[in-house]
Amino acid sequence: MGFTVHFPVLIVVVMFFTAFISPLLYRWARKLAAPAVLSALVAALVMAAALLIQVQQTGTYYYHMGGWPPPWGIEFKADPLRLYILLVVISVSLWIFIYALRDLGHELKTRVIGWYYTLYSVLVGSMAGIVLTNDLFNLFVLMEICAISACAIISIKEDRECLEASFKYLILSAMGTGCFLLGVVMLYMATGYLNYGYLYQALVEAFNFYPLNIFTAAALFIVAFGTKAALFPLHVWLPDAHASAPSPSSAMLSGLVIKIYAFALFLMFYEVFPRVVLEAIPLSEIVLWLAALGSMFGSIYAMLQTDLKKMLAYSSIGQIAYIFMGIGFHHSLALVGGFYHIMVHAVTKAMLFMVAGVIIYSTGVRKIDQLAGIGRVLPVTMVAFTIGSASMVGIPGTGGLISKWYLALSALEIGRPIFVLVILASSLLNAIYYMPIVINAFMHQDEFKKEVKPVPPVMQFCMVVGMVFIIIFGFFSKPVVTLLEQAAALFF
């Protein structure tokens, strides 16, 4: 038994371990705290990559906690799809952390930075766990951890608005977690299992005896994950929370946290509820229409904003809707599009929040109308913003096009061209609010008047990395798409 068999659990444990040890490190050896988190993230990244290579050769791999096989114990599942999401989560959080090292100093008080590292590593660990776990109750526990740490990285900033926003977020996501627990209880009462695979089999028979329980559980799951992932009518907490948080937290929350819950909802729809249940009630249809509404309304709200970060936050509501569309279409191409969008949007939105962070860091400007002419004083930053906007709109050559292309293709395949129109319209709306900023930043004849602090090289490096990756996603999508096509084919 080689050491590699333990990698699924070690990825989660190494992050938790760093979280527990970093308050001690910050007390005794302050200089070591940041390198510790950094090396933990790198270790997790290496383990995830090694697992992906191994799984592609030998097939899906299950890890039994404590050696107890399911249904008695907890099981982690490592298949190509989950490892792909895991790689996105860990690499994006490593990238954001490098940015945060430089940015946190001016957004937070020095004495809470150590706690920020703790919360950050717990957040990454819990997200990795949510992706890997194959057990409903374990998912609930990890969701709790994720919810609390996500709130805390907002409220850690000294700002009244942050407190209010994070309190709203805390209450709504606690409600989501509560709904989820209620749903888990109902499924457990009806089947006696918590493991995804066992539930999938047992629910077919249990559906004849307890249909109402299973329907209610499904409804509760949609509410729970919808609230946490900001599906359209349940998004009310998102704009305040993501806009007021420190920039690295915004990048983390908008880039990764909401997508993890969308992925969890996907797992519920494809690995927990069997087709019989989903065909009896139009659950996917509901998600699909809410997503369609969300992609329009998110963009319309974003147009009305005057604050840059708030605009980006509303734009996330529009973009997460594409991922839900990918789940709702029930077609393998749509899944490819949705999952590709998880990666593209994670990188793009994180980079856009970094750009917003850099603008605030070096000029202190938050309002969109004060950005005129800023492209000439902060060229790298605004080029990054331009490429990010292009990817949001879906201009050829950026990653955003590929995911929208696959979504539109699957909408045509299942014969619902109206969703192609929805995708086109929301892209157009995206262009309406992103492009004026770009044009204003470069073309405006006025000089930028405020004094400008030089941008630290680490921040510039991070933005350049983001730009490069968005363009790579646009031109060299083949390997990832092949991986996703193979993974999606398993569900149909």
């Binding site: 659990v9 979280a19 114990g73 706690w115 109750f137 374990n138």
Partner: protein
């Protein structure tokens, strides 16, 4: 007939609450939504398997192994301990982490303000 009576009852109740008690319409809508959810959830609960019955789906091989082989496999006489700290120990690690994160969140928030 029954449906008509129910509808009549709801209409009278609405008029009573709105115009005699003086509840504003927003609260009224909330109340009705809550009532609907309570109605739905109680039907769901009524459909659940009988509590404590032997043919419950929950009484399957899972608790049977915990009960019959728990002492031998984990060495703990307390069945609850053997489940939470051995069979499902990772969940308990998660719960301990929840406590830790809660403290970290409180400390971070209080110290920054």
């Amino acid at each position: 007939m029954l449906y008509a009576l129910a509808a009549l009852f709801i209409i009278i109740l609405t008029f009573f609450l709105r115009f005699i008690v003086g509840v504003d319409s927003r609260t009224l809508v909330t109340l009705y939504l809550l009532g609907f959810i309570i109605f739905l959830l109680s039907f769901t609960v009524a459909e659940m398997p009988t509590f404590g019955s032997l043919d419950n789906p929950t009484f399957n091989e899972v608790p049977r192994r915990y009960l019959e082989q728990g002492v031998e496999e984990t060495g703990a006489v307390n069945i609850v301990s053997s489940v939470i700290i051995d069979y499902r120990a990772f969940d308990t690690l998660g719960e301990a982490t929840v406590l830790f994160v809660a403290i970290a969140a409180v400390v971070a928030t209080l110290r920054s303000h």
